[in-house]
């Protein structure tokens, strides 16, 4: 979870432009590629195939002989209908995970954009230092930092009493799904926060997610903002556009590749994260990450857990494909 591309990593120019034939042998690139790609094939592609296979098998790890039966002629689709009934219809854990991740991603974008903008255009000689500061929190254990939010958002804390006295908590608590809605739409049954507390409410989880993935948003944003030719913005203001219009019509559209990369790198891990819900959320407020974790480790129902993983993965791939097509950026890495 705790990772960010190094400063400027996303700034990589399309490799084809700079690729030149340096090695004399045509097999050189394949010799360079093969060890790493072989590794990824064995430990990324094969496991993913195994996961799909397990999701179509029957059996659990802790009962019977502890093996799973898989047969290509008798695919067990029941895991998927089970998963759908349990985690979409009866309890909207699936939808909730996507919703929390979406809000956290938007929050991340709102918080990161001014920071990335300042580092790219206003920092001057402080630029490198600020970039270091963006990654620095990473080096304190991510579980400890997430846990520190428990202190910041605890009931007696300054932040929470401020939010309570200004009436913010009343407003946030009022944001909830009405009781009359069917169970599969009950994504916020008890409000975004409690009437008097923030810890162990959805807001705490969302804040934790936004916090943990902030550098994933800031660094790609910075990389694309840094590449903007400042003269384009100057041209806009010379042509009597206000600072805001110049931003809306020039700066922001030019930074879109960074926005797309940043939102993907934030949304995807956030949608599957089990840690924030476990450390900051209410005990009954588990997300997809927790559900998968529990089915694997506590129940031993590997087929069901695999089906959940595949569901999450497929949904994310579809959303990413749609989003990338709409945003019109192909170069992601």
């Amino acid at each position: 979870v705790s990772a960010a591309p190094a400063p400027g990593a996303a700034a990589a120019a399309p490799a084809d432009d700079t690729a030149r034939q340096v090695g004399t042998h045509s097999w050189t690139p394949y010799a360079l590629l093969s060890p790493g790609l072989l590794y990824l094939a064995v430990f990324f592609i094969v496991p993913t195939v195994m996961l799909v296979k397990t999701s179509l098998s029957s059996g659990t790890a802790f009962t019977g002989d502890g093996t799973f039966t898989f047969s290509i002629t008798d695919l067990q689709w029941s895991q998927y209908s089970d998963a759908f009934t349990k985690y979409v219809i009866e309890t909207p854990i699936f939808q909730k995970s996507l919703l929390y991740a979406l809000i956290a991603t938007l929050l991340c974008l709102l918080i990161s954009y001014p920071l990335a903008y300042t580092i790219a255009f206003k920092a001057g000689r402080w630029r490198n230092l600020l970039l270091v500061l963006v990654i620095a929190p990473f080096f304190t254990s991510f579980l400890l930092r997430t846990n520190a939010w428990g202190t910041i958002l605890s009931d007696s804390s300054f932040v929470v009493s401020f939010m309570e006295s200004t009436g913010m908590l009343t407003v946030l608590h009022a944001i909830q799904t009405p009781d009359s809605w069917p169970t599969w739409l009950q994504v916020l049954p008890d409000g975004l926060t409690g009437e008097e507390r923030v810890l162990q409410t959805p807001l705490a989880v969302i804040l934790g997610l936004a916090y943990n993935f902030l550098p994933f948003m800031t660094l790609p944003l910075f990389a694309s903002l840094e590449r903007i030719d400042v003269r384009l913005i100057e041209a806009a203001t010379d042509l009597y556009s206000s600072a805001f219009t110049a931003f809306r019509k020039v700066t922001f559209p030019l930074s879109l590749p960074g926005v797309v990369a940043g939102t993907l790198l934030t949304f995807i891990p956030a949608a599957g994260d089990p840690v924030n819900a476990a450390l900051l959320g209410a005990t009954n407020d588990s997300l997809m990450g927790n559900a998968i974790d529990a089915q694997f480790k506590a129940t031993g129902n590997y087929p069901l857990a695999s089906a959940l993983s595949v569901m999450l993965m497929v949904t994310i791939v579809l959303m990413v494909a749609l989003y990338v097509r709409r945003a019109g950026t192909e170069e992601l890495v």
Binding site: S2, P5, G8, A9, A10, A12, A13, A15, D16, T18, R20, V22, L32, L33, G36, Y39, F43, F44, M50, L51, T54, I111, P114, L115, Y117, I119, K122, V132, L133, V134, A136, P137, F139, T140, S141, L143, L144, T146, N147, A148, G150, T151, I152, L214, L265, I268, G272, D273, P274, V275, L279, G289, I292, F296, K297, S306, S309, L312, M313, V333
Partner: protein, 308 residues
């Protein structure tokens, strides 16, 4: 008949204007805030990032009342002296460092080779390879962890989950980040430097080892630091592949239900301090050297000017 000069007219016009007044403190504050709005929000973002780190460091000096280290009780450095006596913490730290060093070495080598292939060669199947490298970064960790666990179970390795399986997993998710970081460095190289070396009769091998590689090296170092921190801090994938082995994040996770002791915060604080030193010292020394060079240059210029 008196002629009115342009100056006189200007003065008359100016006299009719209301006298100029300095804008009040309120106006100036509003103006300053408006022009620094972005920086203000950026400072807020930095605050948002650093308050939890500050809390982690602060609570390493706390003596918790009861089991949970959530509320401030009393200042003490006792956790800092006790941390080395807690074998649970030191054992988990040693394991985490061993795994991180090994996985960083392997991932850096494999990832750097891929980055050179992509950045320096033409070959078929580039799009597919780019996708294969992007996918591990775009897959939720729970999915990667669970799929690796199903693989290890299928290979009947369930009984021997531990150091080896954790390291295998960490290498896997680190490779992509190494590739992206090193590739960016290679793409940013000035090709004329290599051409110059070739023009000066260096052969390909000499050019690579004397020009290309030293120029890419900072990218490789940055990538290995990234890989180290990814491995050292990973919890989710480790949780699936660790079996009975306890890395430092696994220790923190386990301690969470019974209360994380301030000694764990000490480790977090030390890691943060070390990282800051490692990244800030080169930056600061670069600045000091640059400043000294400037002042030497200035005094030399002064000396030159006076001797003339």
């Amino acid at each position: 008949m008196s002629t009115v000069t342009i100056d006189q007219r200007r003065e008359e016009a100016l006299a009719q204007l209301p006298p100029y007044r300095e804008p009040g403190i309120a106006t100036r504050t509003v103006r300053w805030l408006r022009s620094h709005l972005v920086q203000f929000f950026a400072a807020f973002a930095l605050l948002f990032m650093f308050v939890p780190v500050f809390i982690v460091v602060l609570f390493s000096f706390n003596v918790p009342k009861g089991r949970f280290n959530y509320t401030w009780n009393e200042f003490s450095t006792i956790a800092w002296t006790n941390v080395w006596k807690d074998t649970q913490i030191t054992d988990s730290l040693v394991l985490s460092i061993q795994i991180a060093v090994l996985s960083t070495l392997v991932a850096t080598v494999l990832g750097t080779l891929i980055a050179f292939a992509i950045g320096r060669h033409r070959f078929r199947g580039r799009a597919g390879i780019n996708l294969l490298i992007f996918m591990p970064m775009a897959t939720p960790e729970v999915v990667m962890g669970s799929s690796l666990l199903t693989l290890f179970v299928a290979w009947q390795l369930e009984g021997s989950l531990g150091f080896f399986t954790i390291t295998v997993a960490h290498i896997m998710f680190s490779i992509s980040f190494v590739v992206v970081t090193v590739k960016a460095r290679i793409a940013g190289l000035d090709p004329r430097l290599e051409q110059a070396a070739m023009d000066l009769y260096a052969d390909e091998k000499t050019t690579f080892w004397k020009v290309t590689f030293p120029l890419v090296l900072p990218g490789i170092v940055a990538a290995s630091m990234l890989a180290f921190s990814l491995s050292f801090d990973d919890f989710v994938i480790t949780n699936f592949t660790s079996g009975q082995a306890v890395t430092f994040p696994m220790y923190v996770w386990g301690a969470n239900t019974r209360g994380i002791p301030p000694e764990a915060n000490v480790v977090g604080a030390i890691m943060f301090g070390l990282a800051l030193i490692i990244v800030l010292v080169p930056e600061v020394s670069r600045r000091v050297v640059a400043a000294r060079r400037r002042s030497v240059g200035a005094s030399a210029a002064m000396a030159g000017a006076t001797s003339n």
